[in-house]
Symmetry: C2
Subunit: 340 residues, 2 copies
């Protein structure tokens, strides 16, 4: 592992995206999001995804020149077609529109259809919270997991995000519907380790904490068993219904990489027009204090609220450089036309 | 177990609520909800809860005469104070207002603060879906479960509901944040059985499927471990922020039974003003078909969508009478001033 300063990482990733056909300004926005994800310790959607995004651009699965177009406006709701443009730019456009509507009317709901991978879902929650807004958002995805009680892959991972602004640190949940990602299974297998809790079924239908047999069967476990399965189904249906877009079963037909053609919902509230900033902060502090003051369980030192660990990693990486895998960094340098 | 016709159950429960001080019309609405819950097989919030609700009325924890009062109106958002009136009546008022706003503007968001137990959360999802609306709603509650990594009870069960209308049967998710309810632990223990999957930690911090030790430790498991814990924290914070109401840590101070003083969010969309009824139905059908056509896992016959099993039980109970526990039914009859 190496330590690379935030600015260097963003600069190099920008170069890679410019070389792949994006304009400087948009490349820089996308690069910032990938850099922030690695900086926050969300490696799965940070530098690890740069090569894949470049590949999608080259294949024409993501159109670097496409802009979102308004499909419908209905009061505080706006529906956009993402036209398969870069998912990050589309999702920021949607979040900015939702914030602008909420600034005027207390709430804004913007949906996107026919967009592409927005990378880390939490990005848009942190972004809204930084501007003082509450956010709820989710995307549907291609399928990666069986429905509860089924064998074959039918449900999307459908990341779901909720964010509440708080002066001492936003409360942000960013949660996919599977108990573990395939990335986590792979990393655990390569270490020769087992998962902390069962992560899926082997081919014979036995629940197991061994990553290898789950990767083979592709029967990863929804979080909370039937609960995560049901939640994934509803998030998918609502994303498609509210965006007039595609559901997971239709995204599965596209076969142009992860999330191409997906549907997203971004909902923003302005707490300043509700109880006010001070009240919101008071509520958020009281929730955080209640959680933080828990007696730690055995083998545990402290009890954290959602977003707390992320904020710590961010601070440490900002101070000392982002911890990056040297192989991944070499790949990014090469995409930027630099030598490692 | 006995079989009692729906109408008889509702009639007797209405009598019990009238005897407890409610007017005939409101008693009948509350009785219908308790009856529907038992009819749908959701026994935990059906007849089983009648005696407890009557007890709350007698203690003055629920005020049968209180009406919700408007705190704030902000575009498509309305905030009400429930004034500790009957939770069912308050939640219907909020749902009806959200539907009325959505009918005009595509979306309606109504929040309730200072309300009381709404009984089964799914009630309001099914109700909105029956009228052709999409619904997302949740409540916060008193704490019943530790935060992930903590020992003591700090998180609410915060039931979360999502509903999508569908001609062949609505898709409805009604999910609490714990993997199992205390009711499920009790029933399992009384049968001398173990839970199908681990449901919590014993006093020593070992994960266990034995209900008894979990009831003793009160360390029930959030669904999906850290995921359900985080989701519960965000649902709580948002419910309080959006209703200008109380969070779980404040509800815990009230100590007037379950959910007294809680905060709720009811969000309704009109799909007829978005993609239209036909499109919504097509999406919902495609999602359902994808799930239903899964290859069943070992020891399983069919793969169901959320709400499917409920709709089947409802149909069977409507045809043959609601299956009721004779002890519970005797208690309800006695509260209605009848002999068993």
């Amino acid at each position: 592992m190496a330590r690379i300063p935030f600015e260097t990482v963003q600069h190099v990733v920008t170069e890679a995206f410019v070389k792949a056909g994006m304009n400087e300004q948009e490349a820089s926005v996308c690069a910032r999001v990938h850099t922030e994800s690695s900086c926050d310790g969300i490696y799965s959607h940070g530098l690890n995804r740069v090569a894949r995004f470049v590949d999608y651009l080259k294949r024409g699965w993501v159109d670097p020149n496409a802009k979102p177009s308004l499909v419908k406006k209905l009061g505080v709701i706006e529906i956009y077609d993402g036209n398969r443009g870069p998912g990050i730019l589309n999702a920021f456009h949607a979040t900015d529109r939702a914030i602008a509507i909420a600034a005027g009317q207390g709430i804004g709901v913007v949906t996107l259809r026919n967009t592409t991978h927005w990378m880390r879902g939490g990005t848009y929650g942190w972004y809204a919270a930084d501007k003082g807004y509450v956010a709820i958002s989710w995307t549907n995805t291609e399928s990666c997991m069986p429905s509860w009680g089924g064998k074959n892959t039918r449900l999307g991972n459908n990341p779901f995000v909720m964010a509440v602004p708080r002066k001492k640190g936003h409360i942000v949940l960013d949660m996919a519907m599977s108990q573990y990602s395939y990335g986590k299974l792979q990393v655990t297998r390569l270490k020769g380790a087992t998962l902390p809790f069962p992560g899926g079924f082997d081919k014979e239908g036995n629940l197991t904490s061994e990553p290898g047999p789950i990767e083979e069967s592709m029967r990863i476990l929804p979080m909370g068993y039937w609960k995560g399965s049901g939640f994934s189904i509803l998030l998918d249906t609502l994303a498609a219904v509210l965006s007039e877009g595609l559901a997971t079963n239709e995204i599965d037909q596209i076969k142009q990489g992860s999330c191409t053609g997906c549907s997203q919902v971004i909902m923003v509230f302005d707490p300043r027009q509700l109880g006010g900033e001070e009240f919101t902060d008071k509520v958020a502090d009281s929730v955080v204090d209640y959680v933080n003051s828990s007696t730690p369980a055995e083998n545990n030192r402290e009890v954290l609220y959602p977003g707390e660990s992320t904020a710590r990693i961010r601070k440490e990486h900002r101070a000392n450089g982002i911890l990056v895998d040297e192989g991944v960094w070499a790949e990014v340098l090469s995409l930027a036309g630099r030598s490692a």
